[in-house]
């Protein structure tokens, strides 16, 4: 009962945000530049939340998220530009293609742990990028011309769906299994949790939403090139998750919004932006390694401290 109340509260909030911004856009108070920024923010939120599922919830350190973004971007572009399919079909295809890629990448590499997993995912992302670079059908290094199709409404719907699915997944039996893997993989294994299964599930789900974000991303610009999906892009997504707090979805959302706004303003000074990014990353890791929000959600900040029935919803790092 309580859960559904907060669900409707959040849903109402989302509708209000949508209505207000749609009103502002419709009346021309926010010009197309702001609409573009808003779409970028939404895409980044989707990327951050989908990576949060892999790193924050399941504790699998993947630094190759841009690879799935690239697959989504290119598959969606092929569906709309080459096969003349509607945009929605292209988005779903992008998600499915990225999910299949996630499955193919995940099954062998999720056997690895920690640093090795990070490097393996980075390697897979680079291989994906090199495949697109050498594929003449999608233009190779020159890139592919694309009609702009992403608008504010579809980006908003996709983002809300992403947040909804991942939040529900996290609070389900599966999500708790994933959290137990993050806290202690060996103990989770000993308790009878099929760790490989849950790691792959989280990875595939994360890849699926990264793929949809990729579809939106490619149709928000007029051209996509393999160079857009290098590991700097993966690090950008990683920074959202790490800064927000490993294990906090609202943290990931907040840092995605803030960092996108900051980087939009610093667009002309890209070196300064990267210096600030890297300094923030180092300082946060040195002085607050759990990130801004830790594993807490923003709704928990407003609740009074009380004993939770049946344990806390989220585990807490004791470091």
């Amino acid at each position: 009962m309580k859960k559904s109340k907060s669900f409707f509260l959040m849903f109402g909030l989302a509708v209000v945000i949508y209505a207000v911004i749609q009103f502002l856009l419709y009346n021309g108070i926010l010009n197309p530049f702001y609409e573009n920024t808003l779409i970028t923010i939404l895409i980044n939120i989707m990327l951050a939340v989908s990576l949060h599922l892999v790193i924050g919830i399941t504790g699998q350190f993947s630094i190759g998220h841009a690879g799935f973004l690239a697959i989504g971007a290119y598959i969606a572009a092929i569906f709309t530009m080459k096969l003349q399919m509607p945009f929605i079909v292209a988005l779903i295809a992008a998600g499915l293609a990225a999910a299949i890629a996630g499955l193919i990448v995940g099954i062998p590499s999720l056997r690895l742990r920690g640093d090795y997993l990070a490097i393996a995912t980075l390697g897979f992302a680079e291989i994906i990028r090199i495949v697109f670079l050498n594929w003449d059908f999608v233009g190779g290094a020159r890139g592919m011309m694309i009609t702009r199709m992403t608008d504010w409404t579809i980006a908003f719907i996709c983002t809300i769906l992403t947040i909804l699915v991942i939040a529900n997944f996290t609070n389900s039996r599966h999500g708790r299994a994933c959290i137990s893997i993050r806290e202690d993989e060996i103990a989770a294994d000993a308790m009878g949790i099929n760790t490989t299964y849950y790691k792959v599930i989280a990875f595939v789900l994360g890849s699926f939403f990264a793929g949809i974000a990729g579809g939106l991303y490619s149709h928000n610009f007029y051209i996509i090139q393999p160079g857009n999906f290098g590991f700097l892009k993966s690090f950008d997504i990683l920074i959202f998750v790490v800064l927000g707090g490993l294990g906090s979805m609202s943290g990931a959302v907040i840092s995605a919004i803030l960092l996108t706004i900051i980087s939009t303003f610093l667009q002309e000074y890209s070196e300064t932006r990267m210096i600030i990014y890297s300094l923030v990353l180092i300082i946060v890791m040195l002085y607050r390694p759990q990130g801004l929000m830790g594993t807490k959600e923003i709704t928990q900040l407003f609740q009074k401290k009380k004993s939770f029935k049946g344990g806390k919803q989220y585990g807490h790092f004791e470091s």
């Binding site: 490097i119 393996a120 897979f124 990683l238 790490v242 990267m274 300094l279 180092i282 390694p289």
Partner: protein, 292 residues
């Protein structure tokens, strides 16, 4: 006899990877950290060598020594400022800090001198070529190989015959026990960073000599590939890094020779993934049992 030619090219490329890989493997062996900033130390080394040769008109060997010294100091600074506090934190935190340091070095260099590439002067070393079994061999390739071998022999000497080398081996074996035996762990770790970074600096100068073009983001790809070489040979094992570097260099040259030069980088990553899946401890590594 084109094959011998290709193998020689592969060995030259491989010696650059091997020199960088040694730094990765030593640092990983001692504090279990993938030092992502290592590729950027290599870049700094290349630029120091460049400015020493063009700006101060130094010869090749003084420039090499200068670059190694600067890189050793830089490595120690990075370790002291960024990594020292992270010794007891989670692996993810350490890895992210390393990525941060790497980005910081790259973009600080771009900020101060721009992203435009620079061309190494030719003819710093006598460039003669001669025939060997029908293959044309550049004297530069021989110099590169010679410098690499000398540095590797020196490294083996330091690690196995000196007091600091003994301390390094002890700390990498068991840090707490080494500390109890009176070894200064901080100094030992700093020395490891200094030696590893000096080797990366030497690799940077050699890279400039061999490939001419250098730029502030040049460290990323050779850095990653050197890491692959270190994993290939068995991370933490010094001879493994050397062998891994040479194998990777030769494989890359062969892939290019078959006409797939745009797939060269992919080949390296495919090797990485295969080795991680089938033999994660590397060619020379021993399997370790997982402990709770």
């Amino acid at each position: 006899m084109e094959w011998i030619q290709q193998i020689v090219n592969g060995i030259s490329l491989g010696s650059i990877y091997a020199l960088i890989a040694l730094g990765y493997t030593m640092v990983y062996g001692i504090i279990k950290l993938i030092n992502f900033a290592h590729g950027d130390v290599f870049m700094i080394g290349s630029f120091v060598g460049f400015f020493a040769i063009t700006g101060w008109n130094l010869g090749f060997f003084p420039a090499l020594l200068l670059s190694m010294t600067v890189c050793a100091i830089l490595g120690v600074i990075i370790e002291r400022v960024a990594y020292k506090r992270l010794r007891n934190s989670t692996r993810i935190a350490a890895l992210i800090t390393a990525i941060g340091v790497s980005l910081l070095i790259e973009y600080v260099v771009i900020y101060f001198r721009g992203a435009q590439p620079e061309a190494y002067p030719k003819e710093i070393l006598p460039a003669k070529s001669f025939e060997l079994f029908g293959a044309k061999i550049d004297s530069q390739s021989l110099y590169i190989l010679l410098i690499t071998i000398v540095l590797m022999v020196l490294l083996q000497f330091i690690v196995h015959r000196t007091k600091i080398g003994k301390a390094m081996r002890a700390v990498s074996h068991d840090q707490d026990a080494a500390q109890l035996m009176g070894i200064n762990v901080d100094t030992t770790i700093s020395a490891t960073f200094a030696i590893g970074s000096a080797l990366a600096g030497a690799a940077g100068v050699i890279f400039g000599l061999y490939y001419i073009k250098i730029d502030p983001l040049m460290g990323i790809i050779p850095g990653l590939k050197a890491f692959i070489a270190a994993v290939l040979g068995g991370i933490g094992i010094i001879p493994g890094a050397m062998v891994g570097g040479f194998i990777l260099g030769i494989v890359e040259v062969i892939v290019s020779a078959f006409g797939f030069s745009s797939w060269r980088d992919a080949a390296a990553f495919i090797i990485l993934i295969l080795i991680l899946i089938f033999r994660p401890s590397g060619i020379f590594g021993k399997n370790t049992r997982e402990k709770v």
